[in-house]
Symmetry: C2
Subunit: 329 residues, 2 copies
């Protein structure tokens, strides 16, 4: 910056003020400084700035979600809420290892990040990073076990309702639910939402039970076969994930059942690579993770000075309509 100042014929202090848009500098002076800066391709050293202002304009995103399936949308939401030139994000993957997580945490604190977003590997509650960290922390996707922390999660119960509601609007009455691992809170919540919505309509889940199993295509296939045996006249299947839904439509095809003519299918997650390529493309519930990321960023930003609040905030999912559902003729 010394060079810029010299080139503009002012002192370093004035150059700084000019560059930072402080009002107490003559327009012509500012102009000269700006010119000099761009001529020298000057870019301020953020570390020096951080030292003075105690703000780094960086945020840590600590994830355990190997494939980046959930972290990436959250990252992107956060990125555009912060604004490209305001805040940069450190992405760290702990790979499900709590030792590694502590390491990353130390590193991030050493780098004096202004805040932390923690994204768990699965949508169940996870251990808190602790109460007395020097920066605000937001848990996204997977809530913290500690109710004193602030967590932002997707509303799975609402999503389940949404899915079933859509199927009902399509005129379906014999609606089954095939979903993943019963030990996942998300599976339970989605199922509860689905069952509740059915009950409001005076309906029970087709096949007499929710089919819990695994988050895989293979389970989607197996469960569908069992379901068809027990309940051959099912007219809609709500799958707990897009993977499962892929398995479901696969078997429906094998059985020469038309989708959505005879059986409508709806997935969950909006994992585009799976859903949009399916035959037919899958209607699904989008988790709205970008929004989660955006809100996380806003909350973090707002909390820089003050405090963060606590508890678990739920965000509604979003129905994405493709061709695997349609009104009955």
């Amino acid at each position: 910056m010394r060079d810029v100042a010299r080139l503009a014929g002012v002192s370093v202090a004035t150059a700084s003020k000019a560059l930072n848009g402080q009002p107490q500098v003559r327009a012509s002076t500012r102009e000269r400084v700006m010119q000099a800066a761009s001529q020298l391709d000057f870019s301020p050293n953020t570390h020096a700035q951080a030292l003075i202002t105690q703000r780094t304009g960086t945020v840590g995103l600590l994830t355990s979600d190997l494939e980046g399936r959930f972290s990436i949308p959250i990252l992107m939401g956060a990125e555009d809420a912060f604004g490209t030139d305001q805040t940069s994000v450190f992405l760290c993957d702990a790979r499900g290892d709590s030792i590694r997580e502590r390491h990353h945490l130390r590193a991030l604190l050493s780098r004096r990040v202004d805040g932390l977003i923690v994204v768990g590997a699965r949508p169940d509650s996870r251990p808190s990073l602790g109460r007395d960290l020097p920066v605000p922390v937001i848990y996204a996707y997977a809530p913290s076990e500690d109710p004193a922390d602030l967590s932002l999660v997707s509303d799975n119960e609402g999503g389940g309702r949404l899915a079933v509601d859509h199927l009902i609007r399509c005129g379906r009455r014999r609606i089954a639910h095939i979903t993943g691992d019963a030990t996942y809170g998300a599976a339970q919540d989605r199922a509860r939402g689905a069952v509740d919505r059915l009950a409001e309509e005076g309906l029970e889940v087709a096949g007499g039970e929710v089919w819990f199993g695994m988050w895989s295509e293979a389970w989607g296939r197996g469960a569908t076969r069992m379901l068809l045996e027990r309940c051959p006249d099912v007219d809609a299947i709500f799958a707990g994930s897009d993977e499962i839904a892929r398995g479901v439509v696969d078997v429906l095809h094998e059985e020469r059942l038309d989708v959505p003519g005879q059986v409508a299918v709806i997935g969950y997650d909006n994992w585009t690579i799976l859903g949009a390529n399916a035959r037919p493309p899958l209607t699904t519930i989008d988790l709205n993770l970008e929004q989660l990321g955006r809100v996380a960023a806003q909350r973090l930003f707002a909390a820089i000075g003050g405090t963060l609040g606590s508890g678990v905030e739920k965000f509604p999912g979003k129905l994405v309509t493709r061709e695997s559902t349609a009104p009955l003729r």
Copy 2:
């Protein structure tokens, strides 16, 4: 650090030396300082360190690969080559927008990253960031257009050979190749590798041509139907991506052809969610992106002082055997 020094009863300078493992400090003194530090939960301010050492221990990963399909493995490779506590990575997604890319670049330079890894959206060459950046830059996955830059890419021609070689070893002779968009260099390279390897065996590609089309399941299905019509006795299909491979096995099923009993199928990319869930699970070529990331990190590290070299380095893919290929009985 002042507090640490005080608590240990030494000067700030000595505390610094003790903490940084400098030899010129008595063991007992070091011990006291370390204790004080951990007692106060001290973590050094990296910005102050950066200011003085001119090294930040950060790297920018600039990507345009929305879904993180390619960036994430590269990031992970880089992360573990750097070592968790040595270097942190800024992940920036330019979303295919060159304006946004410039913004991110400015921000990263302002943050004085020690180096840059650029990951393109598709495996064809992309514009260079420029020759006179103040930090070393490595292009990964997608090479730079400027031969003066250093690029690390996956060897698609070799991958094509690898795939066909495997099919030949399985005793297949009538081998077809269905792949994606012909405007992709990767598609051309993989095809060339495949055709060459076939030629070495005195074979031609089954169906008389390589089927270029799109990187989608739908194209995989369509092309397979056409192929079967023209060449019903095909005994192996090399798909240019796992997506395409999914479409291929789908239609083979429809036609009651056993995979791999009658037709072996091999994909490309090792996109686990697609390949491992397929029926049967897909043999495929892994791009080895983690290795790319690791090597990028090492080169960057080595280049901090000196210079980087230039040109395009190719990395071999890796055969991942699952159940969609097997020797002919």
